[in-house]
Symmetry: C2
Subunit: 224 residues, 2 copies
Amino acid sequence: LLKLENVYKTYHMGKVSVPVLKNINLEIKKGEYVSIMGPSGSGKSTMMNLIGALDRPSKGRILLNGTDISKLSDDRLATLRQKMVGFVFQQFNLIPRLTTLENVELPMWFAGLPKRARAKRARDLLIQVGLGDRLTHKSTELSGGQMQRVAIARALANKPEIILADEPTGNLDSKSGAEIARMLDRLNDEGKTIIIVTHDPTLAKIARRIISLKDGEIVDDRIS
Amino acid sequence: LLKLENVYKTYHMGKVSVPVLKNINLEIKKGEYVSIMGPSGSGKSTMMNLIGALDRPSKGRILLNGTDISKLSDDRLATLRQKMVGFVFQQFNLIPRLTTLENVELPMWFAGLPKRARAKRARDLLIQVGLGDRLTHKSTELSGGQMQRVAIARALANKPEIILADEPTGNLDSKSGAEIARMLDRLNDEGKTIIIVTHDPTLAKIARRIISLKDGEIVDDRIS
Ligand SMILES: Nc1ncnc2c1ncn2[C@@H]1O[C@H](COP(=O)(O)OP(=O)(O)OP(=O)(O)O)[C@@H](O)[C@H]1O
Ligand SMILES: Nc1ncnc2c1ncn2[C@@H]1O[C@H](COP(=O)(O)OP(=O)(O)OP(=O)(O)O)[C@@H](O)[C@H]1O
Ligand SMILES: [Mg+2]
Ligand SMILES: [Mg+2]
């Protein structure tokens, strides 16, 4: 499903080059449940952004279902992403002035779903993550963990084939975190491909495969 | 040092009232190390904002060193806060366009410290949290865990008596998290009062006392 070939990512800050990902070679099959772990600053979110087609590599190729996504135009990339990928951001990236419900409806509105269908689906997803009583709060009127759960619900709005979750339980107590872990497990049973970055050992344990990053390189890749 | 008497906090959203903290009674002595735990949405950050004088209660009193802070003007509150309190926010709240170094210098600039002194102190703090090689990055050019560490360094800039940290290790791997735990422990040995909100059992274990919140009320308060 997903293949990274000799991928490099370097940031340029004036004269200084910051090599953030080096020589990444990785293959992820459809339906896998992969956990990406590693120290703070090791390149996990950067790698997730490349996988999720939100960023382009400096060198190397990324293939999604056989298509070289580094060759696609921004428009075609956006359409592909909208159909196939659900992304939970480390910083949530909710729209501040919209309500919880509106934030989760937004991807479905872009996908052309009619109002009644997207309102119902948004509501169902928010109830699933325990936010049924926070539908009309603006996203700035939520707790940190509530914002995180809205971000999770939003990522699932368009029933994506691939779920990319960057530290989805960092702001959750162990009980809420366990509920999210179960939810991801169920989605994986339904055939979805799950790639999570996590420091949470509970979440990593459920994954079938653990990839370890260190200083921008893959240092370990094992079946857990 | 700190006393909350019959504190209530209610948000009003149009006609709806959302009672978020109810009947909070709490005393924290100078030099204590307290951990606040509880489910997502239970009111922990709200309580921290009241303790840190960033918000006012709907009912009840908050006394800091015997002064009723709910009676102070905004100006006097800001001065008191600047001198006594270091706050690590759950969402970090860094200034996007400023560099790592500038973000940590900011509180010292407000406190009137001269350039050389604040540049040196900012650099020392950032090296302590492992960010010596990220001094000139803008805060938007950092990883999640790096932003969190800048927020921690910034909270310590003015050598505050009270350190309030709202989930300071949520985005950190276990090794970086352990370093922060050790740092807070050392500060507590130096006599600083530490109040942390955390879901991280490693961090909670170091605290001497654990206060548990549930649906806006204190349901447990014990020496750990
Ligand atoms: N401005 C607001 N208006 C209305 N409700 C609010 C507002 N801010 C927070 N809340 C509500 O207050 C409750 C407590 O929020 P708080 O941020 O204190 O929770 P928390 O315990 O820190 O949770 P978490 O562990 O998820 O960070 C939440 O249910 C939230 O929806
Ligand atoms: N725009 C940028 N310009 C320069 N350097 C950057 C930029 N964005 C990220 N970096 C650097 O790239 C490195 C990797 O960042 P990344 O966000 O991928 O780390 P991470 O593994 O997700 O860390 P964490 O666990 O803290 O979230 C970091 O050292 C960071 O400072
Ligand atoms: Mg990250
Ligand atoms: Mg909170």
